[in-house]
Structures are given as structure tokens and as C-alpha cells.
């Protein structure tokens, strides 16, 4: 088996807060092959954004290991991390605060080039190339971020990320702040970039429809743990885990002829400060039984490439 581009194993991250320790990420493992698109799906408190920032080395894990092409980035200094910066880059959720308002587009993208001493002899030409790649043009280089719309700003953010020629793009809710029509533009752009550049994608989102469209594999997160992971088609069509089923059932469908939401989970997402014992989903689960409160389910292989963390797997029947 070839070495994956990114492999994350037994990753945990806890944050001390004034009201106690938050276990944001709890023993999460997954890997992404070169050129593959992997989706991380979850609601608030699922730890999906924290995983993205851990993978970039922006924050350090409490436990576990992150490897790029087999090389661990654990405990590396900023200086030692620098070569890895060209492996993975990030696209952020908020197109407004992810660009420095005081810099021109040329300097925003140019900074990425300068930091890694790339294309220094043809800097302007390379910036124009990058802008063209994301559907903007060279004349945009001399403008400031506030002169652009949200969708255009997101394109600039993508161009900045692409400037260092990364092999993996980590996109943290990159379209959730955008209008539907702009959203479609950015999703299409990401698809095109993947196709033309062979980029791998770690796509972090709460929107299952977009993940289904963009990603080959997916992991469903709940309160910092992976509930289920496998090929997107299978997980979305015949989810194994009760939480995946609940999540899919709750997504409003833009089709009045589709069957309405039938069995909705009740209650709130528990506080990550005080997660339930055993299986974290058991407090809202239709299938929970005695052992679910005491035994922590582990991610177990169900079918080829498909894993599920549920004591009751396989569940009685699909609804």
C-alpha cells in the first residue's frame, strides 16, 4: 500500500477553559491519499475545525500523530515546519476576515510566494497566473479586498493557498458564508482545481449535500469522535450509524416530493465540557441500550473501507 499524503492517527486535542477542559478532538484517525477528497462532517462541537488546524500545525495536539507522506510533524518548531507549509494550505470560512484589509491582492498572494522564495524572477506573471486559475484576472491584483464581493474574496483566498503549490487543500466551511449561487461557483472551482492540479482535499463542512458532491470519502464526527467513516456514496445512501441517520434525516431537502423528516433526534447536542459516558451519542439515540452508557464503542470495520463506531452495529433495519 502506498503511503498516504496525510495520515492522522489517534489524534486528540483538549482545551482548558474557565469552566473545565473541553475534549475537542478525541482519538481521531483517518488518512487521505494523494488527489483524494475527504469530507469531515459534523455539527458544532464536533471538533471538525480543530482537526483542520491541527493538521496544519497551527495548534499542537494533546496526543496522537500527524504525518505528511510518512513524515511526522509532531513537536516541530516553526522553522522545521516550514517545508511542510508547502504540503498543505487552508481556505477559510469567512471571506471577509481571511484577507488582510490593508494589503492589495498582489501583496496577499505575493507574500505566499516570497515566504517560500517562489517565482521571484516572474512574480507578477505568477500572480496573474494564480488569479486566472481561480477565475479572476491580472487587473484585480492592484485592488484591495474591500473592493470585492464575498465570492471573489474566497477566490483570492484560494489563490493565496495555491501559490505555494500545495498537494492538499484544507477547506474549512469555505462556502457556508456565501449565497447559494456563489456557493455553486466556488464548489465548481474546487472541482476544477482538483481535476487540473491533482489536489487532495480535506473538506470540512456541516452541509452533507456539498460533501456528497465533492468528496469520495467522508467521516461523520460527533463531539470530537468519528462515528462513521467510509465511501461517501455508501455513508450517505445507507448510513450505518444512528447519528449519521439522524443527521441525514434532519437535512432539509429542496424537494417537496421527497419523504418528509420522519424520525428526528430530540434534545440538544451535549456540552463538550461534560460529554456523556460510553457512547457520546447515546443520550439522543433511538437504539441506545444499557451497555451504550458504559462501553465506549470503537471504530470497527463493517465493510470494505467502511467503519462504524456503534455497539449495536449492524442496526436492525434501514428506515
Amino acid at each position: 500500500m502506498t503511503t498516504p499524503l496525510l495520515s492522522v492517527s489517534h489524534l486528540s486535542k483538549s482545551f482548558p477553559t474557565s469552566r473545565g477542559i473541553v475534549q475537542a478532538v478525541d482519538d481521531v484517525s483517518f488518512s487521505i491519499a494523494a488527489g483524494e477528497a475527504f469530507g469531515l462532517v459534523g455539527e458544532s462541537g464536533s471538533g471538525k475545525s480543530t482537526i483542520g488546524r491541527l493538521a496544519l500545525g497551527l495548534i499542537t495536539p494533546t496526543a496522537g500523530d500527524i504525518r505528511f507522506s510518512g513524515q511526522s510533524i509532531n513537536g516541530l518548531s516553526e522553522r522545521a515546519l516550514k517545508p511542510f507549509r508547502r504540503q498543505a494550505q487552508m481556505v477559510f470560512q469567512d471571506p471577509y476576515s481571511s484577507l488582510n484589509p490593508r494589503l492589495r491582492v498582489r501583496d496577499i498572494i505575493g507574500e505566499a510566494l516570497d515566504t517560500h522564495a517562489l517565482a521571484q524572477d516572474r512574480r507578477d506573471a505568477r500572480i496573474a497566473e494564480l488569479l486566472d486559475m481561480v477565475g479572476l484576472n491580472a487587473s484585480h491584483a492592484s485592488r484591495y479586498p474591500h473592493e470585492f464581493s464575498g465570492g471573489q474574496r474566497q477566490r483570492i483566498g484560494i489563490a493565496r493557498a495555491l501559490a505555494v503549490e500545495p498537494r492538499l487543500l484544507i477547506a474549512d466551511e469555505p462556502v457556508s458564508a456565501l449565497d447559494v449561487s456563489v456557493q455553486a461557483q466556488i464548489i465548481t472551482l474546487l472541482q476544477d482545481l482538483r481535476r487540473h492540479l491533482g489536489l487532495a482535499l480535506l473538506f470540512i463542512s456541516h452541509d452533507l449535500d456539498i460533501v456528497e458532491l465533492l468528496c469520495e470519502r467522508v467521516a461523520v464526527l460527533y463531539l470530537g469522535r468519528i462515528m462513521e467513516t467510509g465511501p461517501t456514496d455508501q455513508v450517505m445512501k445507507t448510513p450505518r450509524h444512528p447519528y449519521s441517520r439522524a443527521l441525514l434525516a434532519a437535512v432539509p431537502k429542496a424537494d417537496p416530493d421527497a419523504p418528509r423528516m420522519k424520525r428526528l433526534v430530540s434534545g440538544d447536542i451535549p456540552s463538550p465540557l461534560n460529554p456523556p459516558s460510553g457512547c457520546v451519542f447515546r443520550t439522543r439515540c433511538f437504539y441506545a441500550e444499557g451497555p451504550c452508557a458504559t462501553d465506549r464503542p470503537v471504530l470497527a470495520p463493517a465493510e470494505a473501507g467502511w467503519q462504524c463506531a456503534c455497539l449495536r452495529d449492524p442496526l436492525p433495519e434501514h428506515e
Binding site: S149, V180, S181, A184, I187, T188, D257, M261
Partner: protein
């Protein structure tokens, strides 16, 4: 050719709310802007109408104008009528109502919930106190009866363990619970009209589903009408009886929900629907892809505002702005809707 500036003839008993050619303007540092032009919509008792649009479409400004909550003194209604049928079966024009009359009506007959409940709740009062204040104001209750009513309000919005949660402060509650409290506050006066401005946008998917069901249940039980403002077409399909679509400050289409999602009359509505990830179509290489709307929203002018982005644009679209025309069961603002049907 029927021009649908007034659609109140749809039902015999007359609509609860009829917005008629409403325009809203804002005084700004560099002149006056008019983000809402010529908007007409109707809402009947017991009905849910979704007002859909992207940012800048004017949907929120329209709802604020209906509620009399336009930011003063910059925002004002520059023309049009907002006819509202009161409980006393009188029809009043909300656009002409005095500030005090409007406030009176807003407390008793119409209520509004917002996207972010935290900013609408007082952080230093318990939720029980806040609901009690509203109930006291509207129903004149006090003492035990008041407490019982407050608890009943919380039960109504399915807040578990209501007797205990009454003493919670807003910051002790989750976003979903706070939205339930906002709905309890809105329902305290048993409004005949509830305006919900993106009430589930900030919530998680599983919580959103619960709130949608709650609003729908309350509508069925009380017979109130709901004007549901959202950008999420999935939410529209779940909750709305009818849909009004706005684009660049104008209504471009109104229709029953089912036909609209099957085949909309206006090119913009269809384009918007094809931007939905679930509606992606496989291309030649088998990759499922979307059909984005190209370009940026056009500005209001001498032509159809959607013309620069419209795949069906013709010469006539560029010469004059189209009027709202009646279709069967709705209306559409497009010169070509008959050809495209």
C-alpha cells in the same frame, strides 16, 4: 395581459396581510438608495409563505418594513401599502400607522423572531422574567396565574423541564433553546402573524429540524400565518405553502411550493434551484457538477435586473423592466415566462 400589482383577489375572505407595490428607501451619506422596489405579496390566515432571496435581495428589509422596524431615521417607506387585517376585522395600512399604533399592533397581533436570539434577549434577566414581563404587558396577569402562564409558554415551545429552566439566564442556554425562548416570547401575545427572519440559519442541522417542526406545529394549532424569510431552499421546501422569490429588491416570482420546485416560471428561480448541490448533474466524464449563475447580481435600471445573468435573455429584456404578471396560482416578473413554460 393582467398586471398583478394587487393579488388580494386570490381568496374570497381577503388576506391577512397584503403588501402592495411597496418600496423602501434609505437615506445615505451619498444620496438615497432604494433596496426594495415595488414589492407585492399576500399572506392568508394559517398559511406559511416563504420569502426567499440571496443577500441584497431585499427580503429582510421587506420584513422590517412590515413590522415597522426600519432603522430610523435613515429607512422609510417611499411608496406602497401594507394592508393588515386586525382581529377586529378592520383593515389598516401599516405604512401609514403612527409609531404608537404600530407598537400596539406589534405587541398584540404580529410578532417577529430573528436569526440570532442572543441579541434579542436581555442578558441580565432570567428567561422566566422576560416571558413574564411580556405576558403581564399583554394579558395583565400577575402572581400565581402569571407564573403558571409562563410555564405554559415554555411547555408550548417544548423546553424540557420548564419549571427549572425558567430561572436560567440566556447565556446558560444553547442556541436552539434560546430560539425556543424567542418563539415563546413571540407566541405570548398569540399573534395572527409571525415573521421569522432566518430563525434557523445559525443553528445546527438537527436543531434546525426541531425548530422548523415547532414553528409548523404552532402554526397549525393557532391558525396564525407565518412569513418565513430564508435563503435556504431546503428549508423552504420543508415548511412553506407558497413561496415568494426576491431578486435585486424585487419580487420575481410567487408560486405554490410544489410546482415551484418542480418547474419554476422565472429563469432566476430555476437557476437558483440548479445551484443546489443535491441537484448536481453528471457531466461527460461522469463527475457530478453544478450549473452556477455566472456574474454578479445586476443593478436596478431600465432593464430586467436578471438580464445580465439570464440564459434566456432576449432583446426585449434589455429595453424595459418587466411587470409582475399573473400565472395560474402565482405571479412572475419575466417577459418570456410563457415561452419558457
Amino acid at each position: 395581459m393582467a398586471v398583478a400589482s394587487d393579488q388580494s383577489a386570490f381568496k374570497q375572505d381577503g388576506p391577512l396581510l397584503a403588501v402592495d407595490t411597496l418600496s423602501v428607501s434609505f437615506r445615505q451619506e451619498d444620496g438615497v438608495s432604494t433596496p426594495v422596489r415595488d414589492v407585492s405579496l399576500t399572506l392568508h390566515q394559517g398559511e406559511t409563505l416563504a420569502l426567499v432571496g440571496e443577500s441584497g435581495s431585499g427580503k429582510s428589509v421587506t420584513s422590517l418594513a412590515i413590522m415597522g422596524l426600519l432603522p430610523r431615521p435613515a429607512g422609510f417607506i417611499s411608496s406602497g401599502k401594507i394592508r393588515f387585517q386586525t382581529r377586529a376585522k378592520q383593515t389598516v395600512d401599516l405604512a401609514q400607522l403612527s409609531f404608537d399604533d404600530m407598537r400596539h399592533l406589534r405587541g398584540r397581533e404580529m410578532a417577529m423572531i430573528f436569526q440570532e436570539p442572543m441579541t434579542s434577549l436581555n442578558p441580565v434577566l432570567t428567561i422566566g422574567e422576560q416571558i413574564a414581563e411580556t405576558v403581564r404587558l399583554h394579558l395583565g396577569l400577575s402572581g400565581r396565574a402569571l407564573q403558571a402562564h409562563v410555564k405554559a409558554q415554555l411547555d408550548l415551545v417544548e423546553i424540557p423541564d420548564a419549571a427549572r429552566r425558567m430561572d436560567d439566564y440566556p447565556h446558560q442556554m444553547s442556541g436552539g433553546m434560546r430560539q425556543r425562548v424567542m418563539i415563546a416570547l413571540a407566541m405570548a401575545c398569540q399573534p395572527s402573524l409571525l415573521i421569522a427572519d432566518e430563525p434557523t440559519t445559525a443553528l445546527d442541522v438537527t436543531i434546525q429540524a426541531q425548530i422548523l417542526l415547532l414553528i409548523d406545529r404552532l402554526r397549525r394549532e393557532t391558525g396564525m400565518a407565518v412569513l418565513f424569510i430564508t435563503h435556504n431552499l431546503g428549508v423552504v421546501a420543508e415548511i412553506a405553502d407558497r413561496v415568494t422569490v426576491m431578486y435585486a429588491g424585487q419580487v420575481v416570482e410567487t408560486a405554490q411550493t410544489r410546482p415551484l420546485f418542480r418547474k419554476a416560471a422565472h429563469p432566476y428561480t430555476n437557476a437558483l434551484l440548479s445551484c443546489l448541490p443535491a441537484r448536481a448533474k453528471a457531466d461527460a466524464s461522469g463527475l457530478r457538477r453544478l450549473v452556477p449563475i455566472q456574474g454578479q447580481p445586476g443593478v436596478f435600471g431600465e432593464a430586467c435586473a436578471f438580464a445580465p445573468r439570464c440564459p434566456h435573455v432576449t432583446a426585449v429584456c434589455q429595453t424595459k423592466p418587466p411587470q409582475l404578471e399573473l400565472t395560474d396560482g402565482g405571479s412572475v416578473r419575466c417577459f418570456r415566462w410563457r415561452d419558457l413554460a
